[in-house]
């Protein structure tokens, strides 16, 4: 799913996980799209209210990212992290 399509599905002012810098924390608001990738994100703990922290991100384009959620750490490609709306 392209990031444009994701844009349409979310409120325009929504902030994505990808907006966070390394070391920043936030809470998950929702996971966009309804497909196996989003589904797996929910299964591994990206549920509304969950605390997340960006542990690391790779040069040059902050892709992939390492995210801490619910006591586990996951490496996500940017297009995966883009689906996660934060508050």
């Amino acid at each position: 799913m392209s990031s444009e399509a994701l844009q349409d599905a979310a409120p325009p002012e929504s902030r994505r996980l990808t907006a966070l810098a390394v070391g920043e924390r936030a809470r998950v608001a929702l996971v966009l799209a309804d497909d196996p990738i989003s589904r797996r994100l929910i299964e591994v703990g990206f549920v509304p209210g969950a605390f997340i922290e960006v542990i690391a991100s790779m040069w040059p384009a902050a892709d992939p990212l390492a995210i801490r959620v619910g006591g586990s750490t996951f490496a996500l490609r940017r297009h995966e992290a883009e689906r996660i709306v934060i508050t």
């Binding site: 589904r39 591994v44 703990g45 549920v47 892709d63 006591g71 490609r77 995966e80």
Partner: protein, 623 residues
């Protein structure tokens, strides 16, 4: 059926990397592969275990999964087995839900999903040693009450660490009715997943679950190891160090084995009268098998590093660091672990591609897996490097180790190139899946490391004494008979079957600089790559004069071939698909001949091309 003979079918279900296989090995005494990253177990493995009471259990180790709605082939196996949907496989009667005690929330959520299958369940909090050390707290009684299932603690990596599980299994009754196929079961929806998350959080709250803060040391380690700059530097240094070590640490044990082999050959020569038996033993068996066994120390050193790294939890971080590179040529981030396994052997690597959800991504990963230098190629590289690359030091670098590094790197670089070409030809979407869990760091378990190394040594020696020995004897016959006609001038081998076949093949191979001796060695090398080394040993022992027989194989080929031929053969081996077992596995995993044939053709073409270019360029440069 009485309780003595009845078998209870027990399936292990849990998240990836929670210790299911370690637990399975502990109970059944098997030695299935265990490593600190997700996606190690990709098929069902069965084992039998008899409890002290005499009751027998049929245990099933399954691939790890986060939920019963699969996204990959290996996860689908777990769901199908748990539901009794696999043909010829009765449904398990009990589920052991294995949880990593230091990552309870996701495990407990899976437990709630599994509970709906309607089978008796035992929840195991594994890794309780780590949990205790790091200060996790949970009231197991309370959790057990809330969950409606026994909750016990285990340490799968410690002897006796699974006794509590055995005791719990013994308490279970053997059902008199066979478990039914779960037809009423429905796949959990996204709402179900959110609901089970909330329920798991509630149960943990009720059982007084407390999780320590993330340790500072781990945070610092991650910051350094996953930093784009320092992380990459450390990764490169580490790999470099491994290849240096393979050469510099292995030197003296190899000399020792070499001396032993030569002494043995001398002994046989002295003790037996001239004749076929003496030649079979000295030239066929000892020169052939011996020239392979010499490389055991290098194999052991390479695997010591691989096994230690596998246990450490570092490898998924390396996957993170290299993901950009993989993604830019159209490979899934999930391809990293299968490709890494292929450095040991392409076969488990190809099977591990089952963790890649997208079929196209999976096929490309399978096709490039043989370009990762498997450990069977190490003896070939090592022999040629010892023969043609001078032992020189540049500061901390050893030239031979450097060349080995370059050869491994050439394999990786061409894999990326082939994947990129596949992307150009086949197209394909850009959104490849990574979503890889990064496990906690852990010190290698020294006992497991030693056992793992012993296992590798055993396999290597069994191959040397089995298939390699058999092929050497066969090759000796083909290289000795028919005997030369009376009055023949050349070495006897030139008139034998093998010699004539080699000379016929050498016509095709002459443009890339291979002589007929190499042509002979390449054929048995199809069965297993390291056999080519043994075959060269036999061929030169048979065709050489007395002096050639007593010197190490590397010095023989160094004097017989020019540098261009040596380098061309190295280049050939970076690509050559010299392993029938790999092709057979590709056929099985892709259900047909299409991809194994494609693999065979493209690898041979690349091998020929690479050898040709190397040969011609070296000829031109070195004269």
């Amino acid at each position: 059926m009485n309780a003595e003979t009845a078998e209870l079918r027990v399936a292990f279900v849990g998240l990836p990397n929670c210790g299911k296989t370690a637990l399975f090995n502990r109970l059944t005494g098997s030695r299935q592969k265990v490593a600190n990253y997700p996606g190690v177990t990709v098929e069902r493995k069965e084992g039998v275990f008899a409890a002290p009471s005499g009751r027998r259990y049929r245990l099933l180790d399954l691939p790890g999964t986060y939920s019963l709605k699969p996204t990959t082939l290996d996860e689908a196996i777990t769901r199908d087995v748990a539901l009794g949907r696999v043909a010829q496989e009765p449904r398990p009667e009990t589920i052991v839900l294995v949880a990593d005690a230091t990552h309870l929330p996701l495990s407990l959520r899976l437990a709630l999903e599994v509970r709906r299958l309607g089978l008796p369940m035992v929840m195991v909090l594994n890794m309780s040693d780590v949990a205790r050390r790091r200060g996790f707290a949970i009231d197991r009684e309370a959790l057990s009450r809330e969950l409606g299932a026994p909750v016990i603690e285990t340490v799968a990596t410690r002897s006796g660490g699974a006794d509590a599980l055995i005791a719990e299994l013994e308490r279970l009754a053997v059902p008199t009715q066979p478990a039914l196929v779960a037809s009423a079961w429905q796949e959990p929806t996204a709402e179900d997943v959110t609901a089970t998350h909330a329920e798991a959080a509630r149960l943990l709250e009720l059982s007084g679950y407390r999780e320590p803060l993330r340790s500072r040391a781990v945070a610092v380690a991650d910051r350094i190891l996953m930093n784009p700059l320092s992380g990459m530097l450390i990764l490169a240094t580490l790999l470099f160090f491994v290849f240096q070590a393979v050469f510099s640490w292995a030197a003296w044990p190899m000399d020792l084995i070499d001396a032993g082999v030569t002494a043995l050959a001398e002994l046989v020569r002295g003790a037996l009268p001239e004749g076929p038996l003496r030649s079979l033993l000295a030239d066929g068996v000892i020169a052939g098998v011996g020239s392979v066994i010499v490389f055991l120390p290098q194999i052991v050193i390479l695997f010591a590093f691989i096994l230690a790294l596998e246990d450490s939890g570092y490898l998924p971080r390396a996957a993170y660091l290299l993901d950009r590179v993989m993604g830019s040529v159209g490979l899934s981030g999930r391809a990293f672990i299968p490709l890494l396994s292929s450095f040991a052997c392409a076969i488990p690597g190809i099977m591990a591609t089952r963790t890649i959800p997208n079929l196209r991504d999976r096929i490309v990963t399978i096709l490039v897996a043989p370009l990762m230098t498997c450990s069977a190629r190490l003896p070939v590289y090592a022999l040629l490097i010892a023969a043609f690359i001078p032992q020189r030091e540049f500061g901390v670098f050893n030239l031979q180790g450097l060349v080995l590094f370059v050869l491994y790197f050439a394999g990786v670089a061409s894999a990326l190139l082939v994947a990129w070409v596949a992307k150009l030809i086949a197209g394909g979407q850009n959104n490849h899946l990574l979503m890889l869990e990064l496990p906690d760091y852990q010190w290698p378990n020294w006992r497991n490391l030693a056992l793992g190394l012993w296992e590798k040594t055993r396999v290597f020696l069994a191959r040397a004494g089995g298939i390699i020995l058999a092929l050497m004897v066969l090759l000796w016959f083909l290289s000795t008979y028919p005997a030369p006609p009376v009055g023949a001038t050349g070495a006897a081998i030139e008139y034998s079957f093998a010699g004539q076949l080699g000379k016929a093949l050498a016509v095709v191979l002459a443009p890339i600089g291979f002589n007929w001796q190499i042509a002979i060695a390449l054929i048995p090398g199809l069965a297993a790559r390291e056999v080519a080394v043994g075959a060269l040993g036999t061929v030169y022992a048979l065709s050489g004069d007395e002096e050639a027989v007593t010197t190490a194989l590397s010095s023989v080929i160094a004097s017989e071939w020019g540098l261009p031929t040596g380098l061309a053969l190295l280049a050939w081996y970076v690509f050559a698909p010299q392993c029938l077992a790999t092709l057979a596995v590709v056929r099985r995993e892709t259900n047909g001949w299409r991809y194994p044939l494609l693999m065979l053709v493209y690898l041979f073409a690349l091998a020929y091309l690479a050898a040709f270019v190397t040969y011609r360029v070296t000829l031109a440069v070195a004269g």
